[in-house]
Symmetry: C2
Subunit: 328 residues, 2 copies
Amino acid sequence: MSDDLTPKYTEKGKSFERDMDYIPDRILAGAAPADPLESTYGARSDVPVWPVEPGRYRLVAAPACPWANRTLIVRRLLGLEDVISVGKPGPTHDKRSWTFDRDPGGVDPVLGMERLQEAYLNRYPDYSKGITVPAMVEIDSKQVVTNDFPWITHDLYFEWKEHHREGAPDLWPAELREEMETVMKRVFTEVNNGVYRCGFAGSQEAYEAAYDRLWAAMDWLEERLATRRYLMGDAITEADVRLFTTLARFDAVYHGHFKCNRNKLTEMPNLWGYARDLFQTPGFGETIDFEQIKEHYYVVHTDVNPTGIVPKGPELDSWLTPHGREVL
Amino acid sequence: MSDDLTPKYTEKGKSFERDMDYIPDRILAGAAPADPLESTYGARSDVPVWPVEPGRYRLVAAPACPWANRTLIVRRLLGLEDVISVGKPGPTHDKRSWTFDRDPGGVDPVLGMERLQEAYLNRYPDYSKGITVPAMVEIDSKQVVTNDFPWITHDLYFEWKEHHREGAPDLWPAELREEMETVMKRVFTEVNNGVYRCGFAGSQEAYEAAYDRLWAAMDWLEERLATRRYLMGDAITEADVRLFTTLARFDAVYHGHFKCNRNKLTEMPNLWGYARDLFQTPGFGETIDFEQIKEHYYVVHTDVNPTGIVPKGPELDSWLTPHGREVL
């Protein structure tokens, strides 16, 4: 548990900084991106492009991971189950990688590999950065195409439109786009990543600064959701998907393990009602596996929880109680 | 932080077992114990006896420690402040002992020592067991008299009666004694010590067994307190003191740090009302120092919380909200 290969998540005296340098390839429907506003929001135009093609890619997404969880939700909301298959690594890593230890024989049945790392090494034999999920993998070549998670869900919406189910929701409404990007940015830096900044802080000062930022954002969200059923108003958008995957892990993991403990999510009436509303919406709740979520964090982060013991609590049946948000 | 002197609180594969072998001396008012029922409840008759004498002893009791906290409450309830002085070690230990680091110059102003360990070594030069609080120390000789905490509060009541304030509560009502001993025993094994059994479990199995025992007892207490204002009925007894010091630490420490997280204390209406009722009763709340409590657990148990970071939460102002228990 303590040899040199054991990853360290906290660094003494340091704040946590997420490495956002992912494999930037895109899977696009045409030569140019379909999102008319894309250039405004930072897409790189000089990245390798792969074609949209049903059955060509496998989405590797561990249910435990909040970033991967986004892709599982969006794939279901858009009805892409038949065109993009899913491989699901188990909740814990071995020293090198997420593994397919929950699959029969410990091997992904489509990619035929034990570790997601193999797909990264097939692409870059010297790959030395983190083996992360979600990852889009080309099935024939068994190579990772991209692990750039914000663009993966973006492109599932804009680029795979031809394959969406009938009546698929408009997750990126053009008229709300500008405000939505602002909201998503704040949710990402202060909440999605903010909980990690609390949990992986390497000093009391870094932790307290992260905690204050997180709760300022949680209070802002609580107020915003007092008058809006969803983050952007009356309909579910990508912004809700992104917030939801953090809220689903909040009381189960972040409250205790990451010391995000001013209060539980269940103590914020609007956020708690909102989270249950989404949980009970088809496409959301069925992607949540609380057991895998708890096991992932409490077992993998050996420098935060050296005993590896996974809490039995909290009681989670209340996710299924009525939320009363329909009136909004 | 990891040399051989660092205490280990968890032992891989093991359940936590509290060493209950304390220095068994008693401080008695007469040659024989004053408690008429004492022999029934396990007092040892062959232990060294010291005389009750105002000003002779100093009670060393760290506010952070739940076992010491009992003595601070009982001393105040009985009005013994003028006959037994108090020394208060800070919330963290150094490698050898509780220290008086919060006193001017880092020295207890009456005992003139930096570490409580000195008083133990004055008594037993080879003393090798834990240096624990509460400890009664003879001021002149600077020797520990006893650290046997259940008997310390028992004797403050039965043996120091002559010095109690007028109107001091009957903390050990004779007519309730038998039931009270049963209640206190269950509270001790399942709750007071039960939270430690969760937090210091060395295996998932030991933890889960401890968790189930703890919550079975918490549910029993919740039900018991539905119809009784206090544990034994209409009046505060020693049984309430003993339960209170664990409840006061529950959400602040045990919920997260010890993984006692089925729910917060604030989510159990009767126990939470009861805890606030006591907190707001003179003698209880003023002995609680939440900052020291949190610092103690999160800093001292380096094998449970290696980063040493102390959570900012939970919000604790709610301890002062109305409890509505007067109607019972």
